[in-house]
Symmetry: C2
């Protein structure tokens, strides 16, 4: 995700281990440089990333989400994007939401009430982010309760490759967005496709 | 749906009121005839439809699903397609599954164990079925536990306009398909679109 965002935005990558974030960013800068692409990419600790960023993307597996957020502070008034999909692989992939109903609503409960939470980027597979030669011609549903924050998140989405943002309603509607990802994983698996994205039309 | 299916398959429309089914079919035949399209379309009672059909499509709103099925018999060994989406309109459209987890799993509980249940056609809006001048260039996820029944349902899907069937896994995965429809209704509403469909790619 950082490889796609850092040519367009100043990207600060946070990690529990600052060294790991720095290494990841050095490799990312190198990758983009070899393609002749300038970028802005800095590796720091998770807390430094939250403190420095205007918009925080919680690119964390669901199982680490609560633990990570509980160790961090400073989310007041920030735009926070949840791309997180709570799911499990049983014999097929299944949407397994937390008691709040969705990962996005769990984030809302864990963060201060002034945090401006949106869900976005849920259905873009990691391999798609990495495949820099491929255009990302996909639809991205965006949910949120803060209209201005949602507009900004949709603008961010629309500036990346050929992603197209769609307003998918309030944050409470995120469960239906998060359930899309295990559906897409099942479709990839049962139809022998590599990675599956969606377009609304 | 009958307007799109009856030029390709023998379609028997069932209704609680046989007269209503007959009238609907006369109007449908007329509509298609005016377009120079031959069709096979017959209106009967719900029970006669179940008795005569090889494949039964439960094109019923969720709130009438249990009541309708409880009054019918003869589903043994039949292929039964559920396009039903249990949802409610609160301030936005929301997926509200029954205790079984999905409409498709509720159908499974209500029908005899030999019924071969698949979910399909969940995300094709009524207006799209009706707009005979428009091609239906959409993806259709199909779930089911009976591999041969699922293959037949996918074949039916693939013979209608430009619909493309995708195997979306076992019947237990239907909840994620049914949740797509309220998501699409929200996207239509919040982005001022008329009817929204999906393509997997």
């Amino acid at each position: 995700m950082a490889l796609r965002l850092s040519p367009v935005f100043d990207v600060i990558v946070g990690s529990r281990e600052k060294d790991k974030a720095e290494l990841t960013c050095r490799l990312g800068i190198e990758t983009l440089k070899n393609r002749g692409t300038a970028c802005s990419l800095t590796g720091v600790s998770n807390q430094d990333a939250v403190d420095s960023a205007e918009v925080v993307i919680l690119a964390i597996p669901f199982k680490h989400l609560a633990g990570t957020l509980e160790g961090l502070h400073g989310f007041e008034n920030k735009i926070v994007i949840s791309p997180v999909n709570p799911m499990e692989k049983r014999d097929h992939f299944t949407f397994v939401p937390p008691v709040e109903g969705s990962a996005a609503l769990m984030v809302k409960r864990l963060l201060p009430p002034t945090a401006r939470i949106c869900s976005a980027f849920n259905t873009i597979a990691a391999n798609k982010w990495k495949a820099l030669d491929e255009e990302l011609a996909y639809s991205v549903p965006v949910c949120g309760d803060d209209a201005e924050a949602k507009r900004q998140v949709m603008d961010i989405v629309n500036r990346i490759s050929r992603l197209q943002a769609f307003d998918a309603g309030p944050l409470a509607a995120s469960s239906m967005v998060e359930a899309l990802t295990p559906l897409l994983l099942n479709i990839a698996r049962y139809n022998k496709m590599r990675d599956v994205g969606i377009q609304f039309r």
